[in-house]
């Protein structure tokens, strides 16, 4: 994985020193809150309901054991013993004192981590497929390009005060696990007919109050043009994106209001002026960054097949976990392991310091020291020998991390919601917990099959409800929480925005409503292999509306 060079190290250390000084001056009353707020946001420090919150970047979701241990240490020493992994592949601590944040940042810098550009109207942490470098269906590892974008966008003088925040996601496979079509820029790394690497470029996707699926504006952009083309996009956005209204300031609105054709024309014109300039990526530079992401030495471990076969026979729980949380690796003797942070009844994405330590130890012992954070709020060990899967599983069981629910209904994405967040209108976590408990039986969950359920506590949609097969949006109505259900959303290569199915449900009725939706699906699916999303796309919302509101509608 990427290692800091001298420049990175001194850059991050300089930022820690700078922000430490700013905190000190703020605490001494030498600068006002109005002056300080934009500075703290540039360093990932928010103020929430109960305390400050520190959001730490995990570039393209990649961590090593030492970094994970440092996060555990921060949780234990400066926070309340846990952290929250987010849909942006980052981690948030919910309780740090402002006066401790300089010390935390210094600790993080010692393991090549920081909180730079995790907030503010700048280019945020670039996200990537959490199976990058491991997935069997991958054309190439997308992370070298994410790293190139990170270096280019860090304190980029032209793009530090954009109209609004800007999110870029990269995937290297046809199967989109990075939700690239709901990002400001989505990059799909692929090969052309001659085998050259490049990108399909999507622009103007996003969720929030105006959800939009991105428009593809380039089918193939050669890799050497990555920075010049991205610069062209962001420059056009910076120039024409709306600054008069925060809610209309994202590039998706610019794409929508300008029209894809016209905007593409403007971007291409800018690109034509840039493409042969200093932003053209020399091949040797790309290949040099690529070496940081070279696959680990995956020595043959053919004994894995027998080991797994025997262990499956010995333990049904292991067999279930294997079927659900283990993904095919490009090397036949290896597998990628999803560590569920969605134990039944727990807050999605939360991990204790002990769990972080346990994952770090597993990565070091069995996983070539690599860990990923997925945008679905789980952790991943991308390279585990199949021969070691049982040992890894046994250790995960010991720390409550072996829930075999990846991609099932209890693998819920949920934002922190009103239990923590100053922007939220309703709680998300308790709703997720209750649904998780209702569907606690893994047998029942497997019978239901793949089902992406996502919950947001406000229209900002941090819980990705718009792209949930079932989405739940919490709103405040007459002082009470109310939950709207959306159906038919999807965040993969067939992205779609869910449709609101009808009036909302009170907190004590939302779980029943979700169960009604699920039972309706089970009753109408053509066969057990027809997933919820496919069934919904086939039949539309009518049967679900009838099941949820029919009796009441007829009575009215």
């Amino acid at each position: 994985m990427y290692r800091y060079d001298e420049f990175d190290r001194s850059f991050v250390n300089a930022r820690v020193a700078q922000f430490s000084d700013q905190v000190e001056r703020r605490l001494a009353g030498e600068i006002t809150e109005d002056q300080f707020k934009p500075l703290r946001l540039m360093n990932g420090v928010y103020l929430q309901l109960h305390a400050y919150m520190l959001r730490i970047a995990v570039p393209y979701g990649t961590l090593n054991g030492r970094q994970m241990r440092k996060l555990a240490h921060v949780a234990r020493t400066y926070d309340k013993g846990y952290g929250h992994f987010t849909t942006r592949q980052n981690i948030q601590f919910n309780w740090p004192a402002l006066s401790d944040i300089p010390a935390i940042l210094e600790e993080l810098a010692s393991v090549e981590m920081h909180a730079i550009q995790t907030s503010g109207n700048c280019i945020r942490n670039v996200t990537a497929d959490h199976f990058a470098g491991a997935a069997a269906d991958e054309v190439a590892d997308p992370r070298p390009y994410a790293e190139i974008l990170r270096q280019w966008s860090s304190v980029h003088p032209e793009f530090s005060y954009l109209p609004r925040k800007f999110k870029i996601a990269v995937t290297g496979a046809e199967r989109d696990r990075a939700a690239i079509q709901v990002h400001d820029i989505g990059l799909h790394l692929k090969k052309d007919a001659d085998g050259r690497l490049g990108f399909a470029v999507y622009v103007g996707g996003g969720q929030g109050r105006t959800p939009m699926i991105a428009k593809k504006i380039r089918d193939f952009l050669p890799e050497e043009d990555l920075l010049s083309y991205t610069t062209a996009i962001v420059r056009v956005y910076n120039l024409h994106g709306r600054r008069d209204n925060k809610f209309k300031a994202r590039i998706k609105i610019l794409v929508h209001e300008t029209g894809t054709e016209e905007l593409t024309k403007q971007i291409e014109a800018e690109f034509a002026a840039l493409r042969d300039g200093e932003l053209k990526l020399p091949d040797k530079d790309i290949r040099a960054i690529e070496t940081y992401f070279a696959p680990p030495p995956l020595t043959p471990r053919p004994e894995g097949d027998d080991a797994v076969r025997q262990a499956r026979l010995d333990s049904k729980d292991f067999a279930d976990w294997l079927g659900q949380n283990v993904t095919t690796h490009k090397h036949a003797d290896y597998a990628a392991v999803t560590i569920s942070l969605k134990a039944i009844g727990e807050a999605p994405g939360d991990a204790t310091d002990q769990q972080m330590e346990a994952v770090a130890a597993l990565a070091e012992q069995y996983g070539f020291d690599e860990i990923r954070v997925s945008h679905e709020q789980n952790l991943v060990l991308p390279h585990v020998a199949r021969a070691d899967l049982k040992a890894v599983y046994d250790r995960l069981v010991e720390t409550g991390l072996a829930t075999a629910n990846s991609n099932l209904i209890s693998d819920i994405i949920a934002c922190p919601g009103l239990d923590y967040c100053a922007l939220a209108n309703a709680r998300s976590i308790p709703v997720a917990q209750e649904i998780s408990r209702r569907f606690a039986s893994l047998e029942r969950q497997r019978e239901i099959g793949e089902l992406k359920l996502k919950i947001s506590g406000c229209i900002n949609a941090c819980g990705h409800h718009h792209v949930g097969h079932i989405g739940i949006l919490g709103v405040e109505k007459k002082g009470s929480e109310l939950y709207q259900i959306t159906l038919g959303g999807s965040g993969d290569e067939t992205s779609s925005i869910g449709e609101i199915v009808g009036r909302g449900f009170a907190p004590d009725a939302i779980t029943d409503a979700i169960e009604t939706v699920v039972e309706t699906y089970l009753g109408l699916r053509s066969d057990p292999s027809e997933r919820f999303i496919d069934a919904y796309r086939r039949v539309g919302p009518a049967p679900f509306k009838e099941a949820l509101y029919g009796r009441e509608a007829r009575a009215a």
Binding site: L27, H50, A51, S99, A347
Partner: protein, 102 residues
């Protein structure tokens, strides 16, 4: 009926302005303004504390009295006063001594 709340600058702790003239870590004992004059007085205290860099995010919030206890009208403020509803071991609710002391 309103009370004055904020977050303490140095650690972000949710605090309420109390009848004791201090910013307290518990909502119990918050100074209640029942008329316009008292609301204005609280407002002034808030502005001053903000300008003195004691607190940030100062807000007057609507409350009612239920069995003699202050109950914020909005759920958001009830959660601020207690802690996350999914974690009774965190926030004010986990520190009854502090609640009582206020």
């Amino acid at each position: 009926m309103k009370i004055l709340t904020a977050n303490r600058l140095h650690d972000g702790e949710a605090v309420w302005f109390g009848t004791n003239g201090h910013w307290n870590e518990a909502i119990a004992g918050a100074a209640i303004a029942v008329d316009d004059e008292a609301v204005t007085a609280l407002e002034r205290i808030g502005v001053e504390a903000y300008e003195n860099n004691q607190v940030v995010d100062v807000e007057l919030i609507d409350v009612a009295l239920a069995d003699g206890e202050i109950l914020p009208k909005r759920l958001r403020e009830r959660i601020r006063a207690a802690g996350p509803t999914n974690r009774s071991d965190l926030g004010k609710q986990a520190r009854p001594m502090i609640s009582r002391a206020a």
